[in-house]
Amino acid sequence: MPTTESLSPAALLAVYTLALRIHLVDERFRGLLRSGRLAAVYYSPRGQEILAAAMGVHLNARDYLVTTYRGIHDQLAKGIPLRSLFAEYYGKATGACKGKGGAMHITHPASGVMVTTGVVGSGLPIANGLAWASQLKGEDRVTLCCFGDGASNIGAFHEALNLAALWKLPVIFLCQNNGYGECTPYGKATASARISDRAAAYGPNMLGVTVDGNDPEAMWTASAAAVARARSGEGPTLLEAKTFRFMGHYFGDPGAYIPKAEYDAALAKDPMPATRAAVLASGISEAELEDLKKQIEADIDDALQFALDSPVPDLDEINRDIYADPTGAPA
């Protein structure tokens, strides 16, 4: 794939369609939480829709994803079915993980969602293993590993990047730099100016790139390059996507630690309305976008109803999936 190719109207629409799906699902979850119709710990990806969608359009279901608690945008970009996702958030037997993983531990191998971890930074070493398996088997699968800027300060980050570079693994480390790790701003936690600068420490096999994750074109182009590089066996990329999270760390976080001027400036660059405007400018009509939204809303309604109508897990589930052989479960 030529990496200099600019975003065609069709590709832009594909990115926006996926981003809108993420955006509307996130909106729905926040509405459900606000009105007390859902009780879950929730980490909104609001503001990070475009970067996930721009990466997602380059991946297929055979590619692997490892992500974190703030990973609903990544999971949707990877194609997880809405019903499985909603039912898992509701802790239902029909959920992706039969209600045993929950919001922070979503797995859905059919769409390539292999691990969602609640432990900061721990996904990177696992992503290497998935990528190593593809390399050994001679498959052209790409492993995408998503994490935050805070995660880049965990020791596992360094161990994983070093190994990935040494072994030239087909993995993309996508650091979604939203400026904060919980309540601590980037500058108070991270000594290097850019996360991607750290790639230099891992030699020529590791490519470091910083991109505006809110710019669909820049993100699409950088993603295309990283995917092509991994797929062709050229090695890993540390791709830092600069972004912002508008809803704070967790749902209900008042975000008092974010300076108002900083927040306002970020909001002025909200990628969703900007991308919508770009789609309209490319020749898509308001009516078409309205239809698109209605269609996604209908899918969400269906998924929510499915989750609500689904049974809770059988109590016997507590004895299952501990070991392969259920008789191995403790007395």
């Binding site: 992706a96 993980c97 797995t107 696992i126 293993g129 161990e159």
Partner: protein, 340 residues
């Protein structure tokens, strides 16, 4: 000891190290999904600091990889490769260093099957080595098996003979769950009858290493070898000791424990790990829960001391469980306090 019989002299013997090595070789030959990673394990780096993996990279090429000194990366890569359908065997050079990749083991390897509702699973084997007695002191000698037995989803194996070591290591590699296989540094050159090629010992099954009727000694690993010598000695006095080798610390084979203790009505539990909160406490508790009214004496424990493994030879010996304590405990359950 009795003179060896014709049958035992005819049997070839191998050491523990040879047994581990053979199991790894045979597993790789049996199944192309078996891959290996760890520090210094390839032949260019000497085939592992304990030489267990010697020859494997030469024969199996890129399926055997030397890694950087990055324990989180090692176990994480094993977890990921297992999720993708391979059967990785990761070496953590010494058990104390397993504190470094705890997150990968406890939060990921052990739990992904459950948290994913059975959609994914992590059939990895982590081989590690430990044991006090060689003067390696506080950070190179710990027996930490109880930590892992406490986490749902992990399987923990400690063999007490070379033949078992071979069969159990194959058992771990071909098991569908994450396994921790613990090699005893102090017995590595000891020998025993050689195993049958390719014979897998399934996990979770204890083995009656010696039949007896008066008291059951339950344990695993090195103290079990001491126990067999003691049992032989006591047999000369007419004391019949049954020796139950757990082989798998977790999941614990409760049925075999109860079956044996129901017969002998007396039990001593032995392990090298420190006494408090160890596997012995769990075994003793299960016996008590199920067989309280049938016991003729309290269940006794023999273990090492609840201190950091010291360096000075005299202190290290003071730390370690003592074979004499195994013998004394057996006699105590037969004669001493608590007998009805």
């Amino acid at each position: 000891m009795n003179a060896p019989t014709a049958a035992t002299t005819a049997t070839k013997t191998i050491s523990f190290t040879e047994a581990y090595s053979r199991a790894l070789h045979d597993a790789m030959e049996m199944d192309p999904r078996v891959i290996m990673l760890g520090e210094d394990i390839a032949d260019e780096e000497g085939g592992g600091v304990f030489k267990v993996t010697k020859g494997l990279s030469t024969k199996f090429g890129s399926r055997v990889r030397t890694t950087p000194i990055s324990e989180q990366a090692i176990v994480g890569a094993a977890v990921g490769a297992a999720l993708a359908g391979l059967r990785p065997v990761a070496e953590i050079m010494l058990m104390n260093f397993i504190t470094v990749p705890m997150d990968q083991i406890v939060n990921h390897a052990a739990k992904l099957r459950f948290m994913s509702g059975g959609q994914t699973h992590v059939p990895i084997t982590i081989r590690t080595r430990t044991g006090a007695g060689a003067g390696t002191a506080g950070q190179h000698s710990d027996m930490l098996e109880a930590w892992f037995a406490h986490v749902a989803g992990m399987k923990v194996v400690i063999p007490s003979s070379p033949a078992d070591a071979y069969g159990l290591l194959l058992g771990c590699i071909f098991d569908e769950d994450p396994c921790l296989f613990i090699e005893d540094a102090m017995t590595r050159t000891q020998t025993g009858p050689e195993p049958e090629k390719g014979k897998i010992i399934p996990l979770g099954q204890a083995n009656v290493a010696r039949e007896g009727t008066d008291v059951t000694v339950i344990g695993y690993g090195r103290p079990l070898r001491d126990t067999l010598v003691i049992a032989e000695k006591l047999a000369a006095e007419g004391i019949s000791v049954e020796v139950l080798d757990l082989r798998t610390v977790s999941p614990l084979d409760t049925d075999s424990i109860l079956k044996s203790v129901a017969k002998t009505q007396r039990a001593v539990v032995v392990h090298e790990a420190p006494r408090s909160f160890g596997a012995g406490a769990e075994v003793a508790a299960r016996i008590q829960e199920h067989l309280y009214s049938e016991l003729k004496a309290p269940v006794l424990r023999v273990a090492s001391r609840d201190v950091t493994v010291p360096f000075a030879k005299v202190l290290e010996q003071e730390y370690l469980y003592k074979p004499s304590a195994i013998e004394a405990s057996i006699r105590q359950t037969l004669n001493g306090k608590g007998r009805r």
